[in-house]
């Protein structure tokens, strides 16, 4: 379902490629990507998200071999397969919560699905926030909205980049629980990239999480 072999990526002008040890995620388990800044964590995340083309080695994500896919095909695959919760949440300030949740459909050239948005907002206990603008939300509420947006198109893979950034201990625990619950409820694989010791400690204790140290 998720794994790579001989995977490497070299940026234009860089003296050498970043190489990744072969890996395969066991079925039904989630993945924690650990690594300090500059370890290649972001590059692996971009490769997993189909934002960088696989030029060396092989990468399979959610049952699709990404090597050789055109940028256009990668765009379509990403929209249909991937949910992403970025470190900076990037909720559009010009739009309400409900409209932010319509973006995944609009990005794919499809009609918005308000029923799905309402269902997710209710599941994340923020149903009453649908009409608010992002600046009217607390950090925790904004995190939930970003998670709802990632889940809108029923992704098979949910990527979370540094989900504990700017969160206190209590909110970090809450956020991790939300991610794991959502992955279980939606039946998708969760990939968390983090160098936060609190996250590493919380996830290392779980049997359903495999860790890759970069």
């Amino acid at each position: 379902m998720l794994g790579w072999q001989g995977l490497a990526h070299r940026y234009n002008g860089a003296p050498q490629a970043i190489r990744y040890a072969d890996f395969e995620l066991d079925a039904g388990r989630h993945l924690l990507l650990r690594g300090a800044s500059g370890s290649g964590k972001s590059t692996l995340l971009a490769l997993l998200a189909g934002l960088l083309r696989v030029r060396q080695g092989s990468l399979e994500v959610a049952g699709t071999l990404l090597d050789g896919l055109s940028p256009r095909a990668l765009d379509a695959w990403r929209g249909a397969t991937l949910g992403f919760v970025p470190q900076q949440l990037h909720l559009s300030e010009a739009l309400s919560v409900a409209e932010n949740l319509a973006l995944p459909a609009l990005a794919a050239g499809q009609r918005a699905d308000p029923a799905r948005a309402a269902e997710l907002l209710a599941a994340l206990d923020i149903a009453e926030l649908s009409g608010r603008k992002p600046h009217q939300l607390s950090v925790g509420q904004a995190q939930r909205v970003a998670l709802a947006r990632a889940l809108m198109r029923r992704p098979r893979l949910l990527l979370a980049d540094e989900p504990s950034a700017n969160l206190d201990d209590e909110n970090t625990v809450t956020m991790l629980a939300l991610l794991l619950d959502a992955a279980e409820r939606e039946g998708c694989t969760l990939v968390i990239a983090s160098h936060d010791a609190r996250v590493v400690e919380a996830l290392s204790a779980r049997d359903d999480v495999m860790a890759v140290v970069l």
Binding site: A46, Q87, S92
Partner: protein, 400 residues
């Protein structure tokens, strides 16, 4: 996408409103110039009504044309009534229509003429009939509307072509007909028999010794003669012949109108240039605003890419913002341009000056939305390209 672009557009309301104002002003100026040029040209053409030559007393041909065709200026003087017969005897002349001016009623000119003058414009009667004897008057549609006279009403003309002249005593005109709106110069004239002018002025000069009927005719005058040619050759021959006659001056309306348009054209070009300067300023402003928007919304746009939007869709979103702004500005600009023309039309009507053509969409006005769209595409091209080339991988982790 359109809704999203609309929301993004108005996420900076002040910037958008200013850009909208700039674009609207530029497009309104262009609309105004296009519309007025087209309408003035149409109005002039309509009032020419197939009149090939105007013959008046020696003086400026432009003045003769303005007085005889458009009823805007004072005539250069009078010409003998016998001129009509002289002209009719010319083989190159198909029709001669006399015009006697000099009096007015509440600012509207009284024109002594023959029914042929009404036929030149193809005007129809809305009420009553044309005059059958002197001192019967037919009102132009606008005159009837403004003054409110009805069939059977009587009025006294006053001396001079503008308001404020001395009244012509006991000689009263009777309204026997009202013309339907023709959009031509007839709308603002009071038409009567050419003899009415003689009757009124003979009464005006009461006390002077009266000649016999034939002697009277020999001394009688008209102001202008409107001539239609029988053959195109007349355009070369007849003006020369007229100008060679003692006291007569020929004015070819087509030539004089073209000269007038050239004179007015300079002002039109200045207005046009002003509109273009406004549009260029607006285009630059939209360009800067879009560039700023792309920079400010890099995160949003990157997120759209992350959510699966192809690069071209993100670029189209930026271009769509500019097009929506341009579309709105085109609608407002056209409306404002039409409003300005309507105001000008109102002003001209109050001054009883030249009428513009009928309101409606002129062909040239389709240029306005095209111009707005082209400007939007130009202004959006670079920002859209920046959005297309957005590096999603670095943006997704950059602080906002």
């Amino acid at each position: 996408m359109v809704r999203l672009a609309w929301r993004y557009l108005w996420s900076s309301p002040l910037t958008t409103a200013l850009n909208l104002l700039l674009l609207t002003l530029g497009l309104a100026a262009v609309t105004f110039v296009l519309r007025v040029s087209a309408q003035v040209e149409a109005g002039l053409k309509r009032d020419l009504a197939g009149i090939d030559l105007v013959v008046g007393a020696k003086g400026s041909p432009m003045q003769i044309m303005l007085a005889g065709v458009f009823h805007l200026d004072a005539p250069t003087g009078n010409i003998p009534l016998a001129t009509l017969d002289l002209l009719k005897q010319q083989p190159l002349v198909a029709q001669v229509v006399p015009l006697s001016l000099g009096d007015s009623f509440r600012g509207f000119r009284i024109a002594g003429t023959t029914p042929d003058y009404v036929n030149l414009y193809g005007a129809k009667l809305a009420q009553g009939a044309l005059w059958s004897r002197p001192m019967q008057a037919v009102l132009g549609a606008e005159v009837a509307r403004t003054i409110g006279l009805k069939l059977g009403d009587r009025f006294v003309g006053s001396h001079g072509l503008a308001e404020g002249g001395s009244a012509h005593g006991e000689q009263r005109f009777e309204v026997v007909g009202v013309l339907a709106d023709s959009g031509s110069v007839l709308d603002r004239l009071v038409l009567t028999d050419v003899a009415s002018v003689w009757v009124v002025h003979e009464e005006h000069h009461a006390g002077e010794v009266h000649d016999s009927h034939d002697e009277q005719d020999a001394h009688r005058e008209i102001t202008l003669a409107l001539v239609r040619y029988r053959s195109p050759l007349a355009a070369v021959m007849l003006p020369r012949w007229v100008n060679a006659q003692d006291g007569l001056q020929a004015a070819a309306p087509a030539l004089e109108t073209a000269r007038l348009m050239r004179l007015v054209g300079a002002g039109t070009e200045v207005l046009h240039g002003f509109g273009i300067v406004l549009l260029v300023a607006a285009g630059l402003s939209v360009w800067v605003a879009l560039l700023h928007a792309v920079r400010a919304r890099q995160g949003d746009l990157a997120m759209l890419r992350m959510l699966g939007a192809p690069a071209h869709r993100v670029a189209a979103l930026v271009a769509l913002e500019a097009l929506l702004l341009a579309g709105l500005a085109a609608v407002l600009g056209l409306a404002a341009g039409h409003g300005l023309v309507a105001a000008l039309e109102q002003l001209l009507a109050q001054r009883q000056s030249l009428r513009l053509g009928p309101l409606g969409f002129s062909d040239a006005e389709w240029l306005v939305p095209l111009l707005a769209g082209g400007l939007a595409v130009l202004a959006a091209a670079w920002p859209a390209w920046r959005a297309y080339r957005l590096d999603v991988t670095t943006l997704l982790q950059a602080p906002r």
